[in-house]
């Protein structure tokens, strides 16, 4: 800025030609997309929205949510336990933890689901008792226990634990050694240090990828339809098997996944904010606050564009 005897001086902003071209291209492409969506008769939006609220689809969505919650619960609890084992100085704890991750991450989840679904072929009888001596407290029939639903959430959960253990491990090792020393110097036991000092701080690192895993799991549960669990996709398949409206029903199912994913993303944001306590001097703004700031910023830009006046330092 140049001084001009203390008077206000006109400021000419830089012209962003590339941005304007990019914006025009995007507007045209977006218009094409909406045109296709609205005017391609075979999307038959009336069928999509008709089935969106039917009880079959809703029941399928409920099943999807049940599978997601149960599988993630197994995944998180087991995953954190495996991560803690993995970090143990005792090789007999860390080696099996490594082997678990190696096996469950190294085989396809679809194969694992089929395996649990057919486990009765391998072990017709399952029992809980004293190992090696055939003394059982509890016996049950594997075929009865591993119903499609049980096989699905157990299979998905055990597979997820392998991924969650890596996420939890990265979170645990991200906590500064000094925090552990400080806790020790106060006389905290190892378990207290882990629970009160390390895990709460590891959460900040663990939460974002875990949110990702939840969203990923929500969609992976659709594989359960292959072992005859009637979740969202299974319900849609059942309907189009009868009426041949394949595309509209696949869209119905996809819309439901999108709705739930959106809700989960919002939940993740607030969870991250909660666990970021103490990490930032000022907490990050909420999306609504950010939107308000954006609107103010754009409005401000238009004002300066018209006025194009800046105060000049004397």
């Amino acid at each position: 800025m140049t001084t001009n005897g203390g008077d206000a001086v006109q400021v000419v902003p830089v012209r962003h030609v590339g941005r304007w071209i990019g914006a025009v291209v995007m507007v045209v492409l977006t218009a094409m997309l909406f045109h296709t969506l609205l005017f391609t008769s075979r999307f038959t939006w009336s069928i999509v929205f008709h089935y969106f609220g039917t009880s079959e689809i809703i029941q399928g969505v409920v099943k999807t949510l049940e599978l997601t919650v149960l599988a993630m619960a197994i995944g998180i609890v087991l995953g954190v336990a495996i991560a803690i084992m993995r970090l143990s100085p005792n090789r007999l704890l860390s080696a099996p933890a490594w082997a678990y991750t190696w096996f469950f991450r190294g085989t396809p989840v679809y194969v694992q689901l089929l395996f649990w679904f057919n486990i009765a072929a391998l072990f017709p009888q399952l029992s809980i008792g004293i190992p090696f001596v055939h003394a059982a407290f509890l016996r049950f029939n594997a075929g009865n226990f591993f119903t499609p639903f049980n096989a699905a959430f157990i299979g998905l959960g055990l597979n997820e634990a392998a991924y969650m253990s890596e996420i939890a491990r990265s979170g645990l090792i991200s906590v500064d050694e000094g925090q552990i020393e400080a806790a020790s110097s106060l006389g905290m036991r190892r378990s207290q240090t882990l629970r009160l000092v390390v895990l709460p701080q590891a959460m900040r690192v663990i939460i974002p990828p875990t949110g990702n895993e939840v969203i990923s799991m929500l969609k992976t549960t659709s594989l359960a339809s292959a072992i005859s669990v009637i979740e969202t996709l299974g319900a849609a398949q059942n309907i189009y098997a009868a009426n041949y409206e394949v595309m509209p029903l696949l869209i119905t199912a996809s819309l439901w996944y999108l709705v739930v994913t959106t809700v989960l993303s919002i939940g993740q944001f607030y969870l991250e904010r909660h666990f970021a306590k103490g990490a930032h001097r000022t907490p990050p703004p909420t999306p609504i606050a950010r939107l308000k700031a954006d609107v103010r910023g754009i409005a401000g830009k238009f004002r300066t564009r018209r006025g194009v006046v800046a105060e000049v330092a004397a």
């Binding site: 110097s185 106060l186 006389g187 036991r189 709460p200 701080q201 666990f275 990490a279």
Partner: protein
């Protein structure tokens, strides 16, 4: 064998303490005596083993050889029937709870407020009731000049303020001994004074303190005894006015000429 401790028993007593890390000998037979109510400063160049010695005292590091006693009790071991029994995790934690430690990098719990940093040890280790712990924490925060900062998180405080919270956190355990590991080395020069003032105040109140420091002014003013370590051995020790003003060994002369 029961240990009878009396006023005459030193708070810390080291005899020929050795410690190696991966084959590197960091402490080569250190002797040290810290009497009750006295302030002892450990000085020396970096890598001389002074921090390691301090960390051995509360068993953050395990010494390899020699005898180390705190308040008459062996650190990390128990002598019974002619054998040394290694102490278990629970016993070691109980011992540590009575020794306060202040770190160079403060190591405040980042996810907790200032108040919770000072109450957590009281509540979870000493089993003090929440409200009592909070009252005690507020008293201590006032004592270190941080009344009104209870709700802040460590990241919102300056280094000097964080270190004073760390001192309050250690004092909340009502320790019989306080260890300071270069408490002002990570601070901006203008913040050093506020931390040293709190430590001087603590020394005047009769707290037994072992301080690893590069602050020669503090050592001269506050310490009852100064130990100069170099290459894992104590080169010189005694009254700070003698040791720091009239060093006998060439090494201490060389060290002092660099830091003063």
């Amino acid at each position: 064998m029961s240990v009878v401790t009396s006023e005459a028993t030193p708070m810390v007593e080291a005899r020929g303490v050795c410690k190696s890390f991966a084959g590197v000998e960091v402490l080569k037979g250190v002797d040290l005596v810290v009497k009750r109510g006295e302030v002892t400063c450990l000085i020396g160049p970096s890598g001389s083993g002074k921090s390691t010695l301090l960390r051995c005292i509360n068993h953050l590091e395990k010494h390899d050889a020699g005898e180390l006693r705190v308040d008459g009790h062996l650190v990390g071991y128990e002598f019974r029937d002619g054998k040394l029994y290694e102490r278990n995790d629970k016993q070691i934690c109980a011992e540590r709870a009575k020794i306060g430690m202040v770190f160079q990098r403060f190591n405040l719990f980042q996810h907790l407020t200032v108040l919770d940093n000072v109450t957590i040890g009281q509540v979870k280790v000493r089993r003090v009731a929440n409200d009592q712990a909070a009252v005690r924490a507020k008293e201590l925060l006032a004592r270190v000049g941080l009344a009104g900062k209870e709700g802040a998180y460590p990241s919102q405080l300056s280094g000097g303020q964080q270190q004073r919270v760390a001192i309050a956190r250690a004092l909340a355990m009502e320790p019989k001994l306080m260890l300071f590991d270069e408490p002002t080395s990570a601070l901006d020069p203008e913040l050093v004074g506020e931390v040293l003032d709190v430590m001087k105040d603590l020394a005047r109140s009769g707290m037994t303190m072992v301080v690893v420091t590069h602050e020669m002014g503090f050592a001269r003013e506050v310490a009852d005894t100064v130990y100069f370590l170099d290459h894992g051995v104590i080169e010189e020790s005694g009254d700070p006015r003698e040791v720091l003003t009239a060093p006998r060994s060439e090494r201490l002369k060389g060290f002092l000429s660099k830091v003063l």
